[in-house]
Symmetry: C2
Subunit: 195 residues, 2 copies
DNA sequence: CCTACCGATCGGTAGG
DNA sequence: CCTACCGATCGGTAGG
């Protein structure tokens, strides 16, 4: 069992679980797989965590908290809708880039949460999406954005682009997260076409 | 057990499985769940299909075939890169709209394919993506598109937007698939901003 | 953190 | 399409 930085044993368990869940999916990951990754017996996991799902809950809700903090910062600023959207996108990307593994789990595995956690999670998500939608609507009202585009489509396209980033972004690549967020924002706001 | 249109029993099994896999994920869906949906015993499923994975294979590779057919049609046309991209997007969306359930499974569950199917699937996908990337590169070369945007980022953003559509598009909504594809293409090519 | 173990459930087969 | 069943594996507990 190798060291994984300065993490508590519980944090190590959660981190290893995140890697496993990302790779195989939550349902296909067994506690025995996880124990093996950590070099211990499956039963020993339960001195650190209460259940398999508790790990998923930590991962999902901790990420949700980070996203909300980032968006709240942006909303405080007194800038145009276009600029707010740009900053919101960059913030979202930066939160994901800080932990791509947890981000992937957050995105793909949250549906395995049981009630009432699933409900709470989905409420947080819809709230977050609606706050981005409000920014887009503001931009459409004040003439910054086209008002011909369907707002739901626009915001879902935005989140699709953002949320798939952990699936293909290579943290070893030359492009740093801030630039990635900037380019993504530029592409979504200004489009591919030269003008 | 209700009728599910004019489908063979095997097709009914596959269709019900697609719904189940979409809802709960492949790994969390049991053959007993599937049997119950169809009103039969789990063991009886095996007179129609060879294994659980065979169902996943059908779903994934049938969708892949549809996507490739659609793209091949577009590539034949003698039009600008921008127009090719637009038609490619509309085609992709139309293929998905024909079977949103299978599309969601295709996108989220293909990783549960075993070898060599997984390898084959990923090769088909990378080929498909690269052909879209070639269209974007063509547009960047001939001055239709900005050449400042990272091509990998552009194509991954495109596919993120396309592939998440089954997660939020409501087929009962007023916006029809062709318009959806058109609006999506407009947003990605021209951006949100007024020009 | 371990040994020893539990009841439940899994995908699938045999044989009709 | 059913009954009867298999070996494997699951998440988790008891007790140290």
């Amino acid at each position: 069992m190798e060291a994984v930085g300065n993490l508590s044993r519980k944090e190590q368990v959660i981190r290893s679980a995140a890697e496993l869940f990302r790779e195989k999916g939550y349902a296909a990951s067994s506690m025995r797989d996880l124990a093996q990754k950590l070099g211990i017996e499956a039963a020993s996991l339960y001195s650190h965590i209460k259940s398999k799902e508790e790990i998923l809950q930590s991962l999902c809700f901790d990420m949700a908290t980070e996203f909300r903090k980032s968006l709240a910062e942006v909303e405080k600023k007194n800038v145009t809708a276009g600029e707010k959207l740009r900053l919101g996108i960059i913030g979202h990307i930066q939160v994901m880039a800080k932990d791509l593994t947890a981000s992937a789990v957050f995105m793909n595995e949250h549906r395995h949460l049981s009630q009432p956690y699933l409900r709470d999670f989905l409420l947080l998500r819809i709230n977050y999406i609606n706050r981005f939608k409000a920014i887009i609507e503001e931009g459409a009202r004040n003439g910054e954005f086209k008002d011909t585009i369907d707002k739901k489509l626009a915001v879902m396209t935005l989140f699709s682009s953002l949320n798939w980033m952990p699936m293909w972004y290579d943290p070893a690549s030359k492009i740093v997260p801030t630039d990635l967020g900037q380019q993504l924002a530029d592409m979504l706001v200004n489009g591919l076409k030269k003008n």
